[in-house]
Protein backbone atom coordinates (compact mmCIF):
# COMPACT_ATOMS: atom_id res chain seq x y z
CA UNK A 1 0.00 0.00 0.00
CA UNK A 2 2.84 2.39 0.83
CA UNK A 3 6.17 2.00 -0.92
CA UNK A 4 8.88 4.25 0.39
CA UNK A 5 11.78 4.43 -2.03
CA UNK A 6 15.07 6.04 -1.07
CA UNK A 7 13.38 8.72 1.05
CA UNK A 8 15.60 11.66 1.93
CA UNK A 9 14.93 14.73 4.01
CA UNK A 10 17.22 17.52 5.04
CA UNK A 11 16.56 20.74 6.90
CA UNK A 12 19.15 23.08 5.44
CA UNK A 13 22.48 21.32 5.91
CA UNK A 14 21.07 18.96 8.50
CA UNK A 15 20.47 15.60 6.85
CA UNK A 16 17.77 13.87 8.86
CA UNK A 17 16.83 11.02 6.56
CA UNK A 18 19.43 9.51 4.25
CA UNK A 19 17.72 7.04 2.02
CA UNK A 20 14.97 4.97 3.60
CA UNK A 21 13.27 2.08 1.83
CA UNK A 22 10.22 0.47 3.38
CA UNK A 23 7.23 -1.38 2.03
CA UNK A 24 4.06 -1.31 4.08
CA UNK A 25 1.33 -3.73 3.06
CA UNK A 26 -2.33 -3.66 3.94
CA UNK A 27 -2.87 -4.86 7.48
CA UNK A 28 0.74 -4.36 8.52
CA UNK A 29 1.52 -2.88 11.88
CA UNK A 30 4.90 -1.27 11.53
CA UNK A 31 6.53 -0.03 14.69
CA UNK A 32 9.40 2.42 14.29
CA UNK A 33 11.86 2.74 17.15
CA UNK A 34 15.12 4.57 17.58
CA UNK A 35 16.96 7.00 19.82
CA UNK A 36 15.76 10.59 19.94
CA UNK A 37 16.99 12.67 17.04
CA UNK A 38 17.31 9.58 14.88
CA UNK A 39 14.75 10.80 12.35
CA UNK A 40 11.94 8.42 13.21
CA UNK A 41 9.37 11.16 13.75
CA UNK A 42 10.53 12.94 10.60
CA UNK A 43 10.16 9.67 8.71
CA UNK A 44 6.57 9.34 9.91
CA UNK A 45 5.77 12.95 9.12
CA UNK A 46 7.20 12.51 5.63
CA UNK A 47 4.78 9.64 4.98
CA UNK A 48 1.84 12.05 4.72
CA UNK A 49 4.03 14.93 3.57
CA UNK A 50 3.60 16.88 6.79
CA UNK A 51 7.27 17.46 6.07
CA UNK A 52 7.91 17.57 2.34
CA UNK A 53 10.55 14.97 1.45
CA UNK A 54 13.59 16.43 -0.30
CA UNK A 55 14.34 13.25 -2.22
CA UNK A 56 12.95 9.85 -3.06
CA UNK A 57 9.44 8.63 -3.59
CA UNK A 58 6.46 7.65 -1.48
CA UNK A 59 4.06 5.58 -3.53
CA UNK A 60 0.69 5.55 -1.78
CA UNK A 61 -2.07 3.62 -3.54
CA UNK A 62 -0.18 3.92 -6.80
CA UNK A 63 0.55 7.65 -6.64
CA UNK A 64 3.86 9.28 -5.77
CA UNK A 65 2.75 11.72 -3.08
CA UNK A 66 6.27 13.05 -2.60
CA UNK A 67 5.80 14.79 -5.93
CA UNK A 68 4.98 18.41 -5.11
CA UNK A 69 2.51 18.63 -8.00
CA UNK A 70 0.19 16.06 -6.44
CA UNK A 71 -2.77 17.48 -4.51
CA UNK A 72 -1.74 16.12 -1.15
CA UNK A 73 -5.08 16.94 0.52
CA UNK A 74 -6.85 14.25 -1.49
CA UNK A 75 -4.40 11.58 -0.31
CA UNK A 76 -4.28 12.72 3.29
CA UNK A 77 -7.97 11.87 3.57
CA UNK A 78 -6.91 8.24 3.34
CA UNK A 79 -4.09 8.60 5.87
CA UNK A 80 -5.05 9.31 9.43
CA UNK A 81 -2.52 10.83 11.78
CA UNK A 82 -2.37 10.84 15.57
CA UNK A 83 -0.06 13.29 17.27
CA UNK A 84 1.97 13.24 20.43
CA UNK A 85 0.14 16.31 21.72
CA UNK A 86 -3.31 15.20 20.50
CA UNK A 87 -3.94 18.46 18.60
CA UNK A 88 -7.69 18.34 18.98
CA UNK A 89 -9.33 21.46 17.54
CA UNK A 90 -9.60 23.63 20.64
CA UNK A 91 -12.50 25.71 19.34
CA UNK A 92 -14.68 22.72 18.51
CA UNK A 93 -16.52 20.30 20.75
CA UNK A 94 -15.56 16.64 20.80
CA UNK A 95 -18.24 15.63 18.31
CA UNK A 96 -17.45 18.59 16.06
CA UNK A 97 -13.81 17.53 16.12
CA UNK A 98 -14.81 14.14 14.77
CA UNK A 99 -17.42 15.36 12.28
CA UNK A 100 -15.68 18.42 10.89
CA UNK A 101 -13.47 16.90 8.22
CA UNK A 102 -15.88 14.20 6.92
CA UNK A 103 -18.78 16.63 6.66
CA UNK A 104 -16.77 19.47 5.19
CA UNK A 105 -14.97 17.38 2.62
CA UNK A 106 -18.02 15.41 1.52
CA UNK A 107 -20.05 18.59 1.18
CA UNK A 108 -17.20 20.07 -0.83
CA UNK A 109 -17.25 17.08 -3.18
CA UNK A 110 -21.02 17.38 -3.44
CA UNK A 111 -20.74 21.04 -4.43
CA UNK A 112 -18.08 20.14 -6.99
CA UNK A 113 -20.29 17.46 -8.53
CA UNK A 114 -23.26 19.80 -8.67
CA UNK A 115 -21.16 22.49 -10.32
CA UNK A 116 -19.87 19.95 -12.82
CA UNK A 117 -23.42 18.83 -13.60
CA UNK A 118 -24.68 22.36 -14.10
CA UNK A 119 -21.83 23.09 -16.48
CA UNK A 120 -22.26 19.81 -18.35
CA UNK A 121 -26.01 20.35 -18.70
CA UNK A 122 -25.28 23.76 -20.15
CA UNK A 123 -22.63 22.56 -22.59
CA UNK A 124 -24.76 19.54 -23.56
CA UNK A 125 -27.16 21.96 -25.22
CA UNK A 126 -24.52 22.60 -27.87
CA UNK A 127 -23.19 19.07 -28.05
CA UNK A 128 -25.66 17.46 -30.42
CA UNK A 129 -25.71 13.67 -30.27
CA UNK A 130 -22.83 12.58 -28.09
CA UNK A 131 -23.90 14.24 -24.87
CA UNK A 132 -21.66 14.01 -21.84
CA UNK A 133 -22.92 11.98 -18.92
CA UNK A 134 -23.87 13.70 -15.69
CA UNK A 135 -22.40 12.56 -12.42
CA UNK A 136 -24.68 10.61 -10.16
CA UNK A 137 -25.65 12.55 -7.07
CA UNK A 138 -27.04 10.20 -4.47
CA UNK A 139 -26.87 12.30 -1.35
CA UNK A 140 -27.43 15.76 0.02
CA UNK A 141 -25.87 17.94 2.68
CA UNK A 142 -28.39 16.98 5.37
CA UNK A 143 -27.81 13.25 4.82
CA UNK A 144 -24.06 13.70 4.92
CA UNK A 145 -24.35 15.55 8.18
CA UNK A 146 -26.73 13.04 9.72
CA UNK A 147 -24.61 10.06 8.73
CA UNK A 148 -21.44 11.74 9.95
CA UNK A 149 -23.11 12.44 13.27
CA UNK A 150 -24.33 8.86 13.64
CA UNK A 151 -20.89 7.60 12.76
CA UNK A 152 -19.26 10.00 15.23
CA UNK A 153 -21.61 8.94 18.00
CA UNK A 154 -20.95 5.26 17.41
CA UNK A 155 -17.21 5.96 17.45
CA UNK A 156 -17.59 7.84 20.71
CA UNK A 157 -19.64 5.00 22.14
CA UNK A 158 -16.86 2.66 21.21
CA UNK A 159 -14.39 4.60 23.36
CA UNK A 160 -17.00 5.15 26.05
CA UNK A 161 -17.08 8.93 25.75
CA UNK A 162 -20.54 9.51 24.29
CA UNK A 163 -21.45 11.67 27.28
CA UNK A 164 -18.54 13.97 26.41
CA UNK A 165 -19.81 14.62 22.88
CA UNK A 166 -20.59 18.27 23.53
CA UNK A 167 -17.68 18.99 25.84
CA UNK A 168 -14.69 21.00 24.71
CA UNK A 169 -11.31 19.25 24.45
CA UNK A 170 -9.86 21.38 27.24
CA UNK A 171 -12.16 19.58 29.68
CA UNK A 172 -10.84 16.10 28.85
CA UNK A 173 -7.97 14.17 30.38
CA UNK A 174 -4.93 13.34 28.26
CA UNK A 175 -6.01 9.76 27.65
CA UNK A 176 -9.49 10.84 26.66
CA UNK A 177 -8.07 13.47 24.31
CA UNK A 178 -5.83 10.95 22.60
CA UNK A 179 -8.65 8.45 22.20
CA UNK A 180 -10.83 11.17 20.66
CA UNK A 181 -7.92 12.07 18.37
CA UNK A 182 -7.70 8.43 17.28
CA UNK A 183 -11.41 8.18 16.48
CA UNK A 184 -11.21 11.55 14.72
CA UNK A 185 -8.81 10.01 12.25
CA UNK A 186 -10.95 6.85 12.12
CA UNK A 187 -13.97 8.92 11.09
CA UNK A 188 -12.35 9.50 7.70
CA UNK A 189 -12.18 5.71 7.10
CA UNK A 190 -8.46 5.91 6.39
CA UNK A 191 -6.44 3.16 4.73
CA UNK A 192 -3.62 3.69 7.17
CA UNK A 193 -3.12 5.58 10.44
CA UNK A 194 0.19 7.13 11.40
CA UNK A 195 0.89 7.40 15.13
CA UNK A 196 3.55 9.88 16.21
CA UNK A 197 4.51 8.86 19.76
CA UNK A 198 0.86 8.65 20.80
CA UNK A 199 1.55 7.84 24.45
CA UNK A 200 4.61 9.98 25.15
CA UNK A 201 2.69 12.97 26.49
CA UNK A 202 0.37 10.92 28.70
CA UNK A 203 0.40 10.20 32.40
CA UNK A 204 1.51 6.61 32.97
CA UNK A 205 -1.93 5.49 34.12
CA UNK A 206 -3.50 6.74 30.91
CA UNK A 207 -1.10 4.99 28.58
CA UNK A 208 -3.02 1.72 28.95
CA UNK A 209 -6.37 2.96 27.68
CA UNK A 210 -4.79 4.42 24.54
CA UNK A 211 -2.73 1.30 23.85
CA UNK A 212 -5.82 -0.87 24.34
CA UNK A 213 -7.66 1.11 21.69
CA UNK A 214 -4.70 0.78 19.34
CA UNK A 215 -4.55 -2.96 19.96
CA UNK A 216 -8.25 -3.25 19.17
CA UNK A 217 -7.68 -1.41 15.89
CA UNK A 218 -4.78 -3.70 15.11
CA UNK A 219 -6.99 -6.72 15.62
CA UNK A 220 -9.53 -5.34 13.17
CA UNK A 221 -6.84 -5.28 10.52
CA UNK A 222 -6.17 -1.53 10.39
CA UNK A 223 -2.84 -0.71 8.79
CA UNK A 224 -0.75 1.29 11.22
CA UNK A 225 2.66 2.92 11.33
CA UNK A 226 3.63 3.69 14.90
CA UNK A 227 6.55 5.62 16.30
CA UNK A 228 6.74 4.72 19.95
CA UNK A 229 8.91 3.98 22.95
CA UNK A 230 6.52 1.31 24.24
CA UNK A 231 8.66 -1.78 23.60
CA UNK A 232 6.14 -4.12 25.19
CA UNK A 233 3.48 -2.89 22.84
CA UNK A 234 5.82 -3.30 19.88
CA UNK A 235 6.61 -6.87 20.86
CA UNK A 236 2.96 -7.74 21.27
CA UNK A 237 1.29 -6.04 18.33
CA UNK A 238 3.82 -5.30 15.61
CA UNK A 239 4.10 -7.32 12.44
CA UNK A 240 7.30 -5.53 11.60
CA UNK A 241 9.71 -3.48 13.71
CA UNK A 242 12.10 -0.94 12.22
CA UNK A 243 15.11 0.53 13.97
CA UNK A 244 16.19 3.92 12.64
CA UNK A 245 19.33 5.75 13.64
CA UNK A 246 21.03 8.70 12.00
CA UNK A 247 18.48 8.72 9.22
CA UNK A 248 18.95 5.13 8.10
CA UNK A 249 17.20 1.87 8.76
CA UNK A 250 19.77 -0.22 10.60
CA UNK A 251 17.62 -3.25 11.22
CA UNK A 252 14.10 -4.41 10.61
CA UNK A 253 12.23 -7.64 11.06
CA UNK A 254 9.53 -9.48 12.89
CA UNK A 255 9.39 -8.59 16.60
CA UNK A 256 10.42 -12.04 17.83
CA UNK A 257 13.63 -12.09 15.85
CA UNK A 258 14.15 -8.34 16.22
CA UNK A 259 14.02 -8.24 20.00
CA UNK A 260 15.20 -11.80 20.63
CA UNK A 261 18.20 -11.82 18.38
CA UNK A 262 19.26 -8.31 17.33
CA UNK A 263 22.22 -8.23 14.97
CA UNK A 264 23.16 -4.60 14.57
CA UNK A 265 25.51 -3.48 17.38
CA UNK A 266 23.80 -0.07 17.61
CA UNK A 267 20.42 -1.77 18.07
CA UNK A 268 21.87 -4.13 20.69
CA UNK A 269 23.15 -1.14 22.65
CA UNK A 270 19.81 0.69 22.27
CA UNK A 271 17.76 -2.31 23.38
CA UNK A 272 19.97 -2.98 26.35
CA UNK A 273 19.41 0.58 27.50
CA UNK A 274 15.67 0.66 26.85
CA UNK A 275 14.76 -2.77 28.10
CA UNK A 276 17.01 -2.62 31.17
Amino acid sequence: MIDVINLEKHFGDNEVLRGIDVTINKGDIVVVIGPSGSGKSTFLRCLNCMEDPTGGQIIFNGVDIADMKVNINVHRRHMGMVFQHFNLFQNKTVIQNIMLAPVYLQCQDLRKDKRYNRWTKFTNIFRGKNKKELRQITTDAATIKREAKENAMSLLKRIGLEDKADAYPSTLSGGQKQRVAIVRSLAMNPDVILFDEPTSALDPEMVGEVLDLMKALAKEGMTMVIVTHEMGFAKEVATNVIFIDEGKILESGEPKEFFGNPKNPRLKEFLSKVLA
Binding site: M50, R76, N87, L100
Partner: protein, 236 residues
Protein backbone atom coordinates in the same frame (compact mmCIF):
# COMPACT_ATOMS: atom_id res chain seq x y z
CA UNK B 1 -21.41 79.18 39.30
CA UNK B 2 -24.03 81.56 37.98
CA UNK B 3 -21.87 82.02 34.97
CA UNK B 4 -21.87 78.30 34.32
CA UNK B 5 -25.64 78.16 34.56
CA UNK B 6 -25.79 80.83 31.92
CA UNK B 7 -23.51 78.83 29.69
CA UNK B 8 -25.63 75.71 30.11
CA UNK B 9 -28.72 77.73 29.22
CA UNK B 10 -27.03 79.08 26.13
CA UNK B 11 -26.00 75.55 25.10
CA UNK B 12 -29.51 74.25 25.76
CA UNK B 13 -30.97 76.99 23.63
CA UNK B 14 -28.85 76.18 20.62
CA UNK B 15 -28.99 72.45 21.18
CA UNK B 16 -32.76 72.13 21.44
CA UNK B 17 -34.38 75.25 20.12
CA UNK B 18 -32.12 75.92 17.17
CA UNK B 19 -31.94 72.27 16.15
CA UNK B 20 -28.35 71.77 17.31
CA UNK B 21 -29.28 68.22 18.27
CA UNK B 22 -29.93 67.35 14.64
CA UNK B 23 -26.34 68.23 13.87
CA UNK B 24 -25.12 66.27 16.89
CA UNK B 25 -27.15 63.20 15.89
CA UNK B 26 -25.75 63.42 12.39
CA UNK B 27 -22.26 63.72 13.82
CA UNK B 28 -22.82 60.76 16.12
CA UNK B 29 -24.17 58.72 13.23
CA UNK B 30 -21.18 59.56 11.06
CA UNK B 31 -18.70 58.92 13.85
CA UNK B 32 -20.15 55.49 14.51
CA UNK B 33 -20.58 54.70 10.82
CA UNK B 34 -17.00 55.59 9.99
CA UNK B 35 -15.62 53.64 12.94
CA UNK B 36 -17.79 50.55 12.41
CA UNK B 37 -17.42 50.34 8.64
CA UNK B 38 -13.73 51.16 9.02
CA UNK B 39 -13.37 48.34 11.53
CA UNK B 40 -15.21 45.87 9.30
CA UNK B 41 -13.08 46.76 6.28
CA UNK B 42 -10.03 46.69 8.52
CA UNK B 43 -10.81 43.24 9.90
CA UNK B 44 -11.54 41.83 6.44
CA UNK B 45 -8.40 43.19 4.79
CA UNK B 46 -6.28 42.82 7.92
CA UNK B 47 -7.17 39.15 8.31
CA UNK B 48 -6.41 38.54 4.67
CA UNK B 49 -3.02 40.25 5.00
CA UNK B 50 -2.25 38.34 8.18
CA UNK B 51 -3.20 35.03 6.56
CA UNK B 52 -1.00 35.81 3.56
CA UNK B 53 1.92 36.81 5.73
CA UNK B 54 1.77 33.60 7.76
CA UNK B 55 1.89 31.27 4.72
CA UNK B 56 5.18 29.35 4.78
CA UNK B 57 7.53 31.23 2.48
CA UNK B 58 9.18 28.63 0.33
CA UNK B 59 7.39 29.34 -2.89
CA UNK B 60 7.66 32.45 -5.05
CA UNK B 61 4.04 33.58 -4.94
CA UNK B 62 3.73 33.81 -1.13
CA UNK B 63 7.00 35.73 -1.04
CA UNK B 64 5.80 38.26 -3.58
CA UNK B 65 2.47 38.66 -1.79
CA UNK B 66 4.26 39.00 1.52
CA UNK B 67 6.40 41.76 0.03
CA UNK B 68 3.35 43.64 -1.21
CA UNK B 69 1.68 43.29 2.19
CA UNK B 70 4.71 44.59 4.06
CA UNK B 71 4.84 47.64 1.81
CA UNK B 72 1.14 48.23 2.45
CA UNK B 73 1.54 47.94 6.20
CA UNK B 74 4.65 50.12 6.08
CA UNK B 75 2.88 52.91 4.22
CA UNK B 76 -0.23 52.96 6.36
CA UNK B 77 1.59 52.68 9.66
CA UNK B 78 4.21 55.17 8.56
CA UNK B 79 1.90 58.12 7.87
CA UNK B 80 -0.63 59.87 10.12
CA UNK B 81 -4.31 59.25 9.51
CA UNK B 82 -4.87 62.93 8.67
CA UNK B 83 -2.26 62.78 5.94
CA UNK B 84 -3.85 59.64 4.50
CA UNK B 85 -7.27 61.30 4.50
CA UNK B 86 -5.92 64.40 2.78
CA UNK B 87 -3.93 62.44 0.21
CA UNK B 88 -6.87 60.20 -0.57
CA UNK B 89 -9.35 63.08 -0.81
CA UNK B 90 -7.26 65.70 -2.56
CA UNK B 91 -4.82 63.54 -4.57
CA UNK B 92 -6.19 60.08 -5.29
CA UNK B 93 -9.82 61.02 -6.00
CA UNK B 94 -9.05 63.77 -8.55
CA UNK B 95 -6.46 61.50 -10.18
CA UNK B 96 -9.00 58.71 -10.52
CA UNK B 97 -11.74 61.14 -11.45
CA UNK B 98 -14.14 59.80 -8.81
CA UNK B 99 -16.50 61.88 -6.72
CA UNK B 100 -17.08 60.84 -3.12
CA UNK B 101 -18.39 62.48 0.02
CA UNK B 102 -16.12 63.09 2.97
CA UNK B 103 -17.87 60.38 4.96
CA UNK B 104 -17.33 57.77 2.26
CA UNK B 105 -13.69 58.73 1.93
CA UNK B 106 -13.28 58.55 5.69
CA UNK B 107 -14.79 55.06 5.83
CA UNK B 108 -12.40 53.78 3.19
CA UNK B 109 -9.32 55.45 4.63
CA UNK B 110 -10.17 54.35 8.17
CA UNK B 111 -10.65 50.83 6.84
CA UNK B 112 -7.35 50.79 4.98
CA UNK B 113 -5.54 52.33 7.91
CA UNK B 114 -6.92 50.00 10.54
CA UNK B 115 -6.28 47.04 8.20
CA UNK B 116 -2.57 47.73 8.56
CA UNK B 117 -2.75 47.63 12.35
CA UNK B 118 -5.24 44.78 12.53
CA UNK B 119 -3.10 42.68 10.19
CA UNK B 120 -0.26 42.84 12.70
CA UNK B 121 -2.61 42.13 15.62
CA UNK B 122 -4.11 39.22 13.73
CA UNK B 123 -0.70 37.92 12.72
CA UNK B 124 0.38 37.76 16.32
CA UNK B 125 -2.93 36.06 17.08
CA UNK B 126 -2.40 33.45 14.38
CA UNK B 127 1.14 32.82 15.55
CA UNK B 128 -0.08 32.39 19.12
CA UNK B 129 -2.21 29.40 18.04
CA UNK B 130 -0.33 26.12 18.50
CA UNK B 131 1.09 24.95 15.16
CA UNK B 132 -0.33 21.51 15.97
CA UNK B 133 -3.80 22.85 15.21
CA UNK B 134 -2.80 23.56 11.62
CA UNK B 135 -1.07 20.18 11.37
CA UNK B 136 -4.12 18.37 12.67
CA UNK B 137 -6.35 20.14 10.15
CA UNK B 138 -4.01 19.32 7.31
CA UNK B 139 -3.67 15.72 8.49
CA UNK B 140 -7.40 15.04 8.08
CA UNK B 141 -7.27 16.35 4.53
CA UNK B 142 -8.44 19.95 4.93
CA UNK B 143 -6.60 22.50 2.81
CA UNK B 144 -4.41 25.25 4.24
CA UNK B 145 -7.09 27.87 3.62
CA UNK B 146 -9.90 25.82 5.13
CA UNK B 147 -7.91 24.97 8.24
CA UNK B 148 -7.00 28.62 8.58
CA UNK B 149 -10.64 29.73 8.31
CA UNK B 150 -12.23 27.03 10.42
CA UNK B 151 -9.64 26.26 13.06
CA UNK B 152 -6.81 28.75 13.37
CA UNK B 153 -8.45 32.14 12.83
CA UNK B 154 -11.37 31.53 15.26
CA UNK B 155 -8.83 30.69 17.97
CA UNK B 156 -6.65 33.62 16.97
CA UNK B 157 -9.61 36.01 17.19
CA UNK B 158 -10.36 34.79 20.68
CA UNK B 159 -6.80 35.54 21.73
CA UNK B 160 -6.71 39.02 20.24
CA UNK B 161 -10.20 40.21 21.09
CA UNK B 162 -9.06 42.65 23.81
CA UNK B 163 -6.51 44.18 21.44
CA UNK B 164 -9.09 44.34 18.68
CA UNK B 165 -11.37 46.21 21.08
CA UNK B 166 -8.58 48.69 21.66
CA UNK B 167 -8.33 49.21 17.93
CA UNK B 168 -12.05 49.90 17.70
CA UNK B 169 -11.86 52.42 20.53
CA UNK B 170 -8.89 54.09 18.86
CA UNK B 171 -10.88 54.29 15.63
CA UNK B 172 -13.86 55.90 17.33
CA UNK B 173 -11.66 58.53 18.86
CA UNK B 174 -9.66 59.13 15.71
CA UNK B 175 -12.81 59.99 13.77
CA UNK B 176 -12.36 63.47 15.22
CA UNK B 177 -10.01 64.24 12.31
CA UNK B 178 -12.51 63.63 9.51
CA UNK B 179 -13.49 67.30 9.46
CA UNK B 180 -10.32 67.74 7.38
CA UNK B 181 -12.20 66.28 4.43
CA UNK B 182 -15.49 67.94 5.20
CA UNK B 183 -17.33 65.15 6.98
CA UNK B 184 -19.59 66.01 9.89
CA UNK B 185 -18.63 64.08 12.99
CA UNK B 186 -19.17 64.74 16.69
CA UNK B 187 -16.39 67.30 16.82
CA UNK B 188 -17.82 69.26 13.88
CA UNK B 189 -21.30 69.19 15.39
CA UNK B 190 -20.23 70.54 18.76
CA UNK B 191 -17.89 72.99 17.15
CA UNK B 192 -20.90 74.27 15.21
CA UNK B 193 -22.92 74.70 18.40
CA UNK B 194 -19.96 76.39 20.05
CA UNK B 195 -19.40 78.89 17.29
CA UNK B 196 -23.08 79.74 17.11
CA UNK B 197 -23.27 80.47 20.82
CA UNK B 198 -19.76 81.97 21.14
CA UNK B 199 -19.44 79.59 24.05
CA UNK B 200 -17.30 76.43 23.83
CA UNK B 201 -17.05 75.21 27.40
CA UNK B 202 -20.28 73.24 27.66
CA UNK B 203 -20.37 71.86 24.10
CA UNK B 204 -16.88 70.42 24.39
CA UNK B 205 -17.64 69.03 27.84
CA UNK B 206 -20.72 67.26 26.48
CA UNK B 207 -18.67 66.04 23.54
CA UNK B 208 -16.09 64.49 25.86
CA UNK B 209 -18.90 62.82 27.83
CA UNK B 210 -20.40 61.34 24.68
CA UNK B 211 -17.02 59.89 23.66
CA UNK B 212 -16.55 58.37 27.11
CA UNK B 213 -20.02 56.82 27.10
CA UNK B 214 -19.41 55.38 23.62
CA UNK B 215 -16.15 53.83 24.70
CA UNK B 216 -17.68 52.41 27.88
CA UNK B 217 -20.46 50.77 25.89
CA UNK B 218 -17.94 49.23 23.52
CA UNK B 219 -15.81 47.98 26.40
CA UNK B 220 -18.84 46.29 27.88
CA UNK B 221 -19.74 44.71 24.54
CA UNK B 222 -16.24 43.34 24.10
CA UNK B 223 -16.24 41.87 27.60
CA UNK B 224 -19.50 40.06 26.88
CA UNK B 225 -18.10 38.72 23.62
CA UNK B 226 -14.91 37.56 25.30
CA UNK B 227 -16.85 35.69 27.91
CA UNK B 228 -18.95 33.84 25.36
CA UNK B 229 -15.90 33.02 23.23
CA UNK B 230 -13.97 31.71 26.20
CA UNK B 231 -16.51 28.94 26.75
CA UNK B 232 -14.15 26.43 25.18
CA UNK B 233 -11.46 27.21 27.76
CA UNK B 234 -13.34 26.15 30.83
CA UNK B 235 -14.92 23.13 32.30
CA UNK B 236 -18.66 23.33 32.32
Amino acid sequence: MGNFGLKVNRFYEIFVEQNGYVKVLEGLKNTLLIAVIGLIIGIAIGTLIAAIRTIPQYKVLPRVLNGICSVYVGIFRGTPMVVQLLVFYYVMLPLMGVKMTGVQVSMIVFGLNSAAYISEIMRSGIMSVDSGQMEAGRAVGLSYGTTMMKIVIPQAVKNILPTLGNEFIALIKETSVVSFVGATDLYVAFNYIGSNSYEFMVPYLVMALIYIVLVLIITLGIKTMERSLRRSDRRH
